[in-house]
């Protein structure tokens, strides 16, 4: 059977709108994607990302609003830093940092959400299971 990666996307409440619009328009994306909604991407913590991998995620994404357009000022910039720092930890422990990625969206870009979902699923499928 083909490897089906487990992927979690931590998504700020505004970018979740993009996902839901994609849903309302029946724009398909892989069922591998599971959304965790956060109020702001700045809520993301290193521990959530690591725990997601521990619990079986093969890939993890964080999606926040476009830079400069965070509803909470700089939450998305903090998220970017947290993702980068966590990528360093992943490298330290020998996990490909490509398994963790941050994207920026606006709440209107449902197409882009779908595209990101497909892209990341393909990427992780290529990388294979994490363990």
């Amino acid at each position: 059977m083909e490897f089906e990666p487990e992927i979690v996307i931590f998504c700020c409440q505004y970018c979740t709108e993009a996902a839901d619009t994609a849903g309302a328009s029946h724009l398909g994306y892989p069922a591998n994607i599971k959304l965790m909604e956060l109020p702001c991407s700045g809520k993301i913590s290193i521990i959530y990302l690591l725990k997601a991998f521990e619990e079986g995620a093969d890939g993890v994404c964080v999606i926040g609003c476009e830079e400069g357009a965070c509803h909470f000022l700089r939450g998305n910039l903090r998220a970017k830093k947290v993702v980068e720092y966590t990528q360093k930890i992943l490298e330290e422990i020998g996990i490909n940092k490509e398994r963790l990625k941050m994207f920026n969206l606006s709440s209107l870009e449902s197409q882009k959400f779908v595209q990101i979902s497909k892209e990341i699923t393909e990427k992780i499928r290529e990388l294979g299971p994490i363990f």
Binding site: L50, E54, I130, F131
Partner: protein, 226 residues
């Protein structure tokens, strides 16, 4: 406060490799504040190690605790039960914390998870800088409140070296020249004449060079007091 930083995970891995059950102990004081050894970092380290060992098909069980101050016996003693159930301890306290655990629990191996870096202060969000090296004979009164021993790369006592340029240190252009800072501060205070006073050669025996130091308050001390 004490500033510390997590050791590379590979280094930590080697220390705890032989064990099956390890207690990770953080400290809720200095190292929490400098984001090296509080509850959050204990969780992150445990999770990182879990992932690391998972990829190597090995399993170590972690117990996670944070004590109020790892440098105090009374707080460390609270770990008694946990320590009884593990094979080793990984301390996310400063060097003092590690040694306190060793003193209280001499029979269990205790490993340092942090590198203790300095006595310093937060400079901006996420940046901590060294301010004092605990030399044992403070001269801040003579240097405009800025320490040349901790902050001048050459620990010069009587003015800058020839390399001080545009306020930056010749050893590292990212460092402010301590002597420039001292000059500026004394100028601000209108006390530049203080610089004419020569600071004599220091008695380094008062620093750690003279061996471990001890501070005694006779009014409080009873046990061995006369």
């Amino acid at each position: 406060m004490i500033i510390a930083e997590r050791k590379p995970i590979k280094e930590i891995e080697k220390m705890i490799m032989p064990y099956k059950k390890v207690l990770i102990v953080g400290c809720n004081t200095c190292v929490t504040i400098c984001m090296a050894g509080g509850e959050k970092e204990v969780d992150i380290l445990a999770s990182s190690l879990n992932l690391l060992f998972k990829s190597k098909h090995k399993e170590i069980e972690f117990i996670k605790r944070v004590v109020e101050r790892q440098c105090e016996k009374e707080f460390v003693e609270e770990l008694k039960e946990d320590i009884a159930s593990v094979e080793a301890v990984l301390s996310l306290g400063c060097g003092v914390g590690v040694q306190k655990i060793v003193e209280v629990f001499p029979h269990i191996p205790v490993y340092p998870g942090l590198n203790t870096k300095s006595i310093g202060a937060p400079e901006e969000e996420g940046v901590w800088k060294e301010k004092c090296v605990a030399c044992g004979d403070c001269i801040l009164d003579k240097t405009g409140g800025i320490c040349p021993i901790a902050r001048c790369s050459k620990k010069l006592l009587n003015g800058p070296c020839g390399g001080s340029q545009d306020g930056k240190c010749e050893i590292d252009k990212n460092l402010d020249c301590a002597w420039q800072l001292i000059y500026d501060r004394l100028k601000l205070l209108g006390k530049l004449d203080q610089l004419e006073e020569i600071i004599p050669v220091r008695d380094w025996s008062k620093a750690n060079d003279g061996g471990p130091r001890e501070v005694i308050r006779e009014d409080v001390r009873l046990k061995n007091g006369k």
